[in-house]
């Protein structure tokens, strides 16, 4: 965050009568920066000569906070990073901790994780679609998207009790099993959703204004996209067929039948098409996960890590003792370090945990996909018109809560 007291040399105002360039500040209150992003734009007429993202307005020191919390207390912090994909953040964090502990997760818990995470991915893409279209002037889509997203949030609320901050996953499994009637409600959503996607396509894909605003805007080639570390739909929009669910499968994703959509063009339009197709693929995965839900435990068999059932606590002394120790003192995690990547809705979400032993981590680091994708913004934005910056930011699908952490 730069301040008036300390202006970096490239932004110092120099009076040059023949210079036609102008430096303007876009954000942090600009609505289409999706939060509190500020861009320092150097313009020549309406052409962007240089774009410099300025982040940190939402920095809350979450990675520092992790070091002072027990492992299980860290789960609620992860909800607040990428607040459009909280279950994905939960999953990355608990899986990294499970990797350190060497826990085996029961099949039902894994299936429910896949099911809810894919629902969350659809919800996250719906917010992206609504706001992206809104930025480009198509307001109606926004309401249609949020109507559909509401149904998913209701489902997540039914499972976890929270809409935006579910904290549904626990180290070793789930908070609790799905409520009765959940399968029927998911099935109802699944029946309705394909028609909604067709509706979005009718509103936007054939819309000539939307096409003109997105095609050939913010191009990035496949080599540049890899070099800049783009991941998720942004990378697949440049024609790179890479999905962590396929490359390094986790939670049993290798057993699901789905496609990895790619588009070759690398512009805003290509990233739009990739996400639209991804929603359908997520729908396919949810259908498969729902059909695979078999009764069984949702918590790993690790009494020193996983909280016991309430019923067991009333009848078994050792369950009561374990409960007391886990809540009051936490559980010791063996020393070591792990990096666990998952495919979040925005790309590769990697969690690095370093443990020195003991109930609190020594270091937790989040590799946020939004953070890395935003760092490539200057590459995509320079040479574009200033009005297209909004389209490029929208196509990156950034969440500032994760960028600033």
């Amino acid at each position: 965050m730069s301040t008036t007291a300390n202006i970096p040399p490239q932004f110092e105002i120099v009076d040059q009568p023949l210079d036609t360039q102008m430096t303007i500040s876009m954000g942090p209150q600009h609505p289409s920066t999706h939060g509190v992003l500020r861009l320092e734009l150097v313009l020549d007429g309406e052409m962007v000569v240089k774009a410099t993202p300025d982040i940190g307005y939402l920095h809350t020191g979450m990675e520092k906070l992790f070091e002072y919390k027990k492992y299980q207390q860290g789960i609620v912090i992860t909800d607040r990073m990428d607040y459009l994909n909280p279950l994905g953040n939960n999953l990355a964090y608990v899986m990294a901790a499970e990797k350190l502990l060497g826990l085996e997760i029961p099949e039902r818990a894994q299936t429910i994780r896949v099911l809810t995470c894919e629902l969350q991915r659809i919800a996250s893409h719906l917010v992206w679609l609504g706001t992206h279209a809104l930025d480009l002037g198509a307001m109606t889509v926004f309401f249609y998207c949020f109507r559909e997203r509401e149904k998913i949030l209701n489902l997540i609320e039914a499972a976890s009790g929270g809409r935006m901050t579910p904290s549904y996953f626990r180290i070793g499994g789930l908070m609790m099993d799905l409520p009765s009637g959940f399968e029927r409600r998911v099935q109802q959503f699944l029946n309705e959703f394909p028609a909604s996607v067709d509706e979005f396509h009718k509103l936007l894909t054939g819309n000539r204004i939307f096409q003109k605003r997105t095609q050939n805007i913010g191009r990035i080639s496949a080599e540049d996209a890899i070099d800049w570390g783009l991941s998720g739909p942004c990378l697949r929009g440049s024609g790179v067929n890479l999905d962590i669910r396929r490359a390094n499968p986790y939670s049993g994703y290798e057993n699901y039948d789905f496609e990895v959509p790619t588009e070759a063009d690398g512009d805003v339009w290509a990233r739009y098409l990739v996400r639209m197709r991804e929603m359908k693929e997520s729908h396919k995965i949810v259908v498969q996960a729902l059909s695979r839900l078999k009764p069984g435990p949702v918590k790993a068999d690790a009494p020193k890590v996983v909280l016991p059932d309430r019923e067991a606590m009333k009848t078994h002394m050792d369950a009561l003792i374990h409960h007391f120790l886990i809540v009051a003192e936490g559980f010791d995690v063996p020393a070591g370090e792990v990096y666990h990547p998952i495919e979040a809705s925005k790309g590769e979400l990697g969690v690095y945990i370093r443990s020195d032993g003991g109930p609190k981590p020594s270091r937790v680091h989040f590799r946020g996909p939004s953070f890395v994708n935003l760092s490539a913004l200057p590459h995509m934005a320079e040479g574009e018109m200033v009005a297209d910056i909004v389209a490029v930011i929208g196509s990156l699908d950034i969440v500032l809560g994760e960028i600033d952490r």
Binding site: S2, N6, V240, P249, Y250, E337, V338, R363, H365
Partner: protein, 181 residues
Amino acid sequence: MESGPDNTKLTPEQAGTGSEGKGTPSLLVAALQREHPEWVREVITAHRETTIVVPREQIEAVCSFLKTAPDTWFDFLADICGADRGPEEEPRFEVNYHLFSTTKFHRLRLKVVLNEEDLHVPTVTTVWRTANWHERETYDLFGVIFDGHPDLRRILLPEDWQGHALRKDFPLRGYEPYSLK
């Protein structure tokens, strides 16, 4: 640079395509150790992940070799993060580089350890441009200086912030409001 000997050629299955399973190319690490012993100070394999501790001066050479050698092809830098082992530890700081291959799908961690008195590391922005913001973040939060970085400024905290927030001796909370000087 020339590639490794033929016996290190791996099919994707051998290299490991899943985090469940092999995941990291231990054969490649052995080949690297044989060919460039000066690059590999230590190899740690734990939790199905491989870590190579690299001497600080060699990090750029190791990275550009691993990026372009056909057997390794680590063309994707997933992450750079610092870590503080604690004020009483020596060496105190470490910088972790998480590498990934977009074609072979294997992962590798490189680690550079640093003493508190001399927190300089050569930049790898010349190898991957994505390293830019990761290195700025590590500089901001730990005070590690990346020599040769094109734009080493603070990124998350204000430019006039005192100290480096993720060091272990930096307090979690303060009782005075932050003010611009």
